[in-house]
Symmetry: C2
Subunit: 236 residues, 2 copies
Amino acid sequence: MHLLLFSNSRSPDGSYLTHAREPLRALAGERRKTLFVPFAGVTTSWDDYTANVGKSLAPLGLELTGAHTVDAGAADRYDLILVGGGNTFQLVAECRRRGWLQAIAQRVRAGTPYSGWSAGANLACPTLCTTNDMPIVDPGGFDALGLIGFQINPHYTNALPAGHQGETRNDRIAEFLVANPAATVVGLPEGDWLAGDGKRMTFHGPHAGYVFRHGQAPVELRDGMAVDQAALPNPR
Amino acid sequence: MHLLLFSNSRSPDGSYLTHAREPLRALAGERRKTLFVPFAGVTTSWDDYTANVGKSLAPLGLELTGAHTVDAGAADRYDLILVGGGNTFQLVAECRRRGWLQAIAQRVRAGTPYSGWSAGANLACPTLCTTNDMPIVDPGGFDALGLIGFQINPHYTNALPAGHQGETRNDRIAEFLVANPAATVVGLPEGDWLAGDGKRMTFHGPHAGYVFRHGQAPVELRDGMAVDQAALPNPR
């Protein structure tokens, strides 16, 4: 498999997907026929979402088709799959309802490169259980594509607004690991991404990430580190 | 019905449930036999959770029984129901699996007073869809008790940690309202609560809350205002 999973779409300078262009160019190679999955978009139309992503990625020369305009049976027409961010619950609900969950997993396992950001990175995980999104619709099951063996928490930060008494992100991830003690979670800060073949995934980007496991201290991830390297039991 | 729904458990001074004592005393009246529902607790044991709540509410003289220690068939032994905060998904999953969803709804509709905070306030809503919690387990359906006709967003704030590019709370609520355009959401800031009979609910507490409806500007709620008053179409 060929996977490229971004924490988020906004680059540190506020521009849209610009930090994703060079990694996406490397992933795409000579491929142009691109399936764009816009179903996580809630407050913009899927047509507009597809057009905006196409505009931002224009330097790569990709030809984007929105998954809302074609049948999942046509998945083999495309040789690159991009999944945009938004609401993970709606993304999974629509992909499931339209047959895209199975169709995408099959194509990606057969070699079609996959990239997603935010909800699109969550979709590559075994389940949607480490999304930050509000559960605005029932996704009909929490299982996702399962292209990687661990969970991603996108937009990772442990900060809270001043004075707020809700759970921190680390509290939430710790709760997930109590309920799912065999799981591994990678906290992926904004601006960072993971790349690899699904078995071996490498961490990239400007901010340190963390690997979380039940009963262990979080292990720091730095640019260029493999997730499995960092996920070795903490010597402390 | 007699409902008392708190945003959260921590009082503004950081102490546990102290801001809830006087409203709870008024709700309980002479009632002592209390069912405490601890299933939202993830990182503390349900025994400990029940004991801690009992300790904090000791001045009220309530006799707490943890719902994990009895069968849902025994619901009619109790004349007050308290539901603690934590993870809403686990709360709904455990209540559903053990038969408490039906048993509690039936008792409360028959007149047993109900109070809950955070996840326990979400449980009183039609669905869990406006929780802030991470979906750590599949609740087997997003429906909840439906004791009130609108959704509560507990721990309401629209602040983000500095530099963070994820959705604000208002963005999330707007997404929910696009997916559920007939719904009403009350953003309930920490320290605030709603009290009433289910049909008429009154807002209380030190911080302004907001009523959110699809396509309308948020309407402010102040101490003593009825939610339906505030939910009238905004004249702007």
